[in-house]
Symmetry: C2
Subunit: 150 residues, 2 copies
DNA sequence: TCGTAACTGCAATATGTTTGCAGAAGCCAC
DNA sequence: GTGGCTTCTGCAAACATATTGCAGTTACGA
């Protein structure tokens, strides 16, 4: 477990087990992706087949609690995990194809201030649901075909 | 089933059953709230105890498909339902107490344009996660107590 | 190297949602 | 109104995701 995660765990008295190392490594090397607990488990098991899914869940819970990993809701079925970066970001989810895009925190400064002034709310993360560029043009082409004969 | 939901269902050839009527009525009279399938079922069963949860799920799925009801993700465990209003709105969720506040669509025009310009994305709904005013002041009081003796 | 508390694997459990099926009932034609 | 066809419902079982109890294993400081 390279990086500060090693130190954090050991400094806080948690044991540095191969399972924890592997979970962290999987998340680190898939930076930018959003993995479910099962995705993480599958990747860990590729190298270390006996690792159990419940251990992965427990490890993710631990890392999330320590703010080394971020747990995100991108729809309603499962939870997704990614390493917690220094600069936070937000998510833009296409409801048709499921693609997830990132949005910098900077671009939401006005929204953050709005929420703060209107509701006294401190925004931590935002998720936007809608239709991505690709699906949008696919739909429009369909519409054109549909209305093509007047 | 008052209102356009009656017409819509019958015009499209769906049968107007008491179960469907009750589900719709429950959602209509709790306007502004966010009910899980079980919440809806419990309220339906208060008047009509034999109605089954799976029927409620099937009815919600139908109404969502017809865009009479809106299904929203406000965290990760369950799905929540509310009547689909003419003017859409967005959700602001406190991660500490779970309170959900509403935000008008108008206030997100700039964000909508941003997403459209930057990603070609058509935003339909947004959810903001963070800390509400109440929880924020509770936390601050705690901090003050904590740092009270220099 | 040893001892102990923390951790893991496994199986069982919890919770939310979906599905197959047989019987019930809405709705249209008469 | 009555019948008949087809959709819909209740029920139970299955499914998907996440959690937990426990016995055995392992990390790690002494
Ligand atoms: Mn992300
Ligand atoms: Mn709402
Ligand atoms: Zn898409
Ligand atoms: Zn709160």
């Amino acid at each position: 477990m390279t990086h500060h995660a090693t130190r954090t765990l050991q400094e806080l008295g948690y044991r540095l087990t191969p399972q924890r190392t592997m979970v962290w490594e999987v998340l680190r090397r898939t930076r930018g992706a959003h993995l479910s607990a099962e995705d993480v488990c599958a990747q860990v098991q590729a190298d270390f087949p006996h690792v159990n899914l419940s251990t992965v869940y427990r490890t993710l819970e631990l890392l999330v609690g320590l703010k080394l990993v971020r747990e995100t809701c991108l729809g309603s079925d499962r939870r997704y995990y990614e390493v917690e970066e220094e600069v936070p970001h937000h998510h833009v989810v296409c409801g048709l194809c499921g693609k997830v895009e990132h949005l910098s925190d900077d671009s939401l400064q006005t929204t953050r201030h709005l929420l703060n002034h209107v509701l006294g709310f401190e925004m931590r993360e935002a998720t936007f649901f809608g239709v991505c560029r690709t699906c949008l043009s696919a739909v429009n082409e369909g519409e054109e075909e549909h209305h093509a004969h007047p």
